[in-house]
Subunit: 457 residues, 2 copies
Amino acid sequence: MAQKPSIPKGTRDFSPEEVAKRNHIFETIQTEFKRFGFQPIETPSFENSSTLMGKYGDEGDRLIFKILNSGDFLKKADKSAISEMDSTRLTSSISEKALRYDLTVPFARYVVQHQNEIEFPFKRYQIQPVWRADRPQKGRFREFYQCDADVVGSKSLWQEVEFVQLYDAVFSKLGLEGVTIKINNRKVLSGFAEVIGEQDKLIDFTVALDKLDKIGEEGVKKEMREKGISEEAINKIQPIFNLKGSFAEKIDGLKSILEGSESGQKGIEELQFIQGAIEAMPLKTARLDLDVTLARGLNYYTGAIFEVAAPEKVKMGSIGGGGRYDDLTGIFGLKDMSGIGISFGLDRIYLVIEELGLFPETVSQNTKVLFINFGEKEALYALKAINSLRANNITAELYPDSAKMGKQMKYADKRNIPYTVLAGEEEMNNQKFTLKHMKSGEQVSINLDELMEKLSS
Amino acid sequence: MAQKPSIPKGTRDFSPEEVAKRNHIFETIQTEFKRFGFQPIETPSFENSSTLMGKYGDEGDRLIFKILNSGDFLKKADKSAISEMDSTRLTSSISEKALRYDLTVPFARYVVQHQNEIEFPFKRYQIQPVWRADRPQKGRFREFYQCDADVVGSKSLWQEVEFVQLYDAVFSKLGLEGVTIKINNRKVLSGFAEVIGEQDKLIDFTVALDKLDKIGEEGVKKEMREKGISEEAINKIQPIFNLKGSFAEKIDGLKSILEGSESGQKGIEELQFIQGAIEAMPLKTARLDLDVTLARGLNYYTGAIFEVAAPEKVKMGSIGGGGRYDDLTGIFGLKDMSGIGISFGLDRIYLVIEELGLFPETVSQNTKVLFINFGEKEALYALKAINSLRANNITAELYPDSAKMGKQMKYADKRNIPYTVLAGEEEMNNQKFTLKHMKSGEQVSINLDELMEKLSS
């Protein structure tokens, strides 16, 4: 009967301390989202399969968790798929729903479905879990939270400026100083492909360029060659690798590289606008940097592309990203709805904050005082005091059983409860409480008001 | 290409206002949970099927959402189940994971799996969604949140007392005055069955008795007869229907009914202990009442049984429930771990609070001030001020485009943003801002400090 309990691979239980730390990050992000005027929405954990399938490429389709139809699902099953043992074809006839894969497609679906109730531009945030049947590995899970903020319904570049400020605000609040907000522009990337005459290989070109950090200049060139990009084109892009210096210096370099490309010039203009605004309103602790190799989900983005790198002393890579997309809602029939959004990578941010010791001590503090249980009358006396403390926002607990004192003290100790109260017959007769500071062992005999004051700080 | 977007039946999208209202309830519950010393845990959305199946009866097994195995799931499928078109048998070979059906079984699994890291008694709370393939109907959804608090590892009746106080604290904080916390005890129900000589029909007996509210005394008796409970036994229980008056009066009545039952007497003792403690520490706005017909999931509970009824003026039924269970973790191999827990019914609480108009106005308030966008220079001037406001906890937005003033004003209006700021060239030259109160139309010209002060209140 008894089973050895376990959870599916790639999923996690979160202990009280972990929940508290995660909530600290969620709440910080959420507070800034709100302060910037974003409003929360929530969508169902599962969507109709037709909403999700085909939106993330073949690989994405494979990684979407499908939910088996309830009841006698074989009744409606595709008989020929069964006889041919074709799992993929059978799936669509025995599964109509699937767990969401990200928050972006459900958001697009939401905007289109509720377009008549929404005031545009619509600034929404959404913090919910997503599921992917990816192979689990260090830092990659099958269930994880995404924290997204998006605006749809405006092409204004002030949005780009505000998202840079939002990243800065969140990471500064978390105490995570020195992050780099890398920015690029899809139009710059198109410009590159244009000036080297490889417009039809734009994706291969940028996918290779995006790997510069990991495989170096020679690696990038090798990959380009393998993808059939001409030697002449590769020679032409040499100046890209030589872009160095400040944001402004890189912009100067870009200008000459992209001289012949209208799209490229437009991209440069946009980058300059954003950089100019940020210069006029300096960031608190983050740094804005131009990274012309940054591509991310290129098919998707049409303007600005963002990625946030953790401070260099931590080896972590990207802890956030986003960009502008001009036709997200088009897949659901609503055209010309430009949007821009960013995302925070909760799990990596957690690891970075943990590694740098930036979680405030108070985060995982829970109960402030444990009342020792000496028996029925004493417990009632204690619980009355506990009620008063709780009414004053002080987290207080009664040990439920009149167990041996050592056991109760050990419990307080293990739970990291800083104070205990001992109140036996003598205290009850004098309307007093003996308050013990667990670390120092110091004890004082005080009345309820004094107890309240002492524990309020 | 374009699809008419929709969501699966029984699921919901939540708009910003709905999320804000739901969060108001969540946060109130959570604050009280914490104040009472409960600690949060979170468990994965899906569990191994073996963890969930067989824990909720046959009906429960059917209502659990199963997740299809990824990849070529037919490879490992039960061939004979396929050829016999047996969906139920096929399921276990093509699905290894399932969405959680409640928070109680995952909690039991958590306690057993992490028993060496936990300090007992373990007071945990958990607020997460659950999924049931129930037929959707008014107020019943396929995805909904549960809010549970449980203590495992102590049999102390002080826990029962504290849970009554916790219910009172939460509903008082929500402004929902006049709820009735009904209490019963499984031992009293066993006692009834004992004294009427129908111990082997305990469940049929209590299931019928539990319906007294709905089908009346004659209905209950009819059902008992149908279940084969003897006429003699039914005559003997007549005094149960006649129990009236205050808690203490009902207890007196119970004492004589259950005179011959040891278990019954034990149940009465427990009820008296709880009632006595609550009398010594009066509830704020709730009322504790003895309801000897209350059974809920009888197979599960072994001591106290709770149910909370909304104020009588609202027709809603139960908005919470719970009880003591002596062997929850036994199914996972950890014996002798008594627990007690309560649950809050979020969706119904929401409806009650909505119906009574108890959501604070501030709950769905979002942006405090919209800065009108008059062009690039003005927008930068505005955004600088907005940064200062945000740094002082004031939610401020810039309209992203320099659209027509009427359009921007309409946006503020539709979004219920109470103030707008107009700052054109004149204001910029004088370092001023024109603040407009949207409702009254009143306008003042003030500097940044004054703006900050005005909007802080």
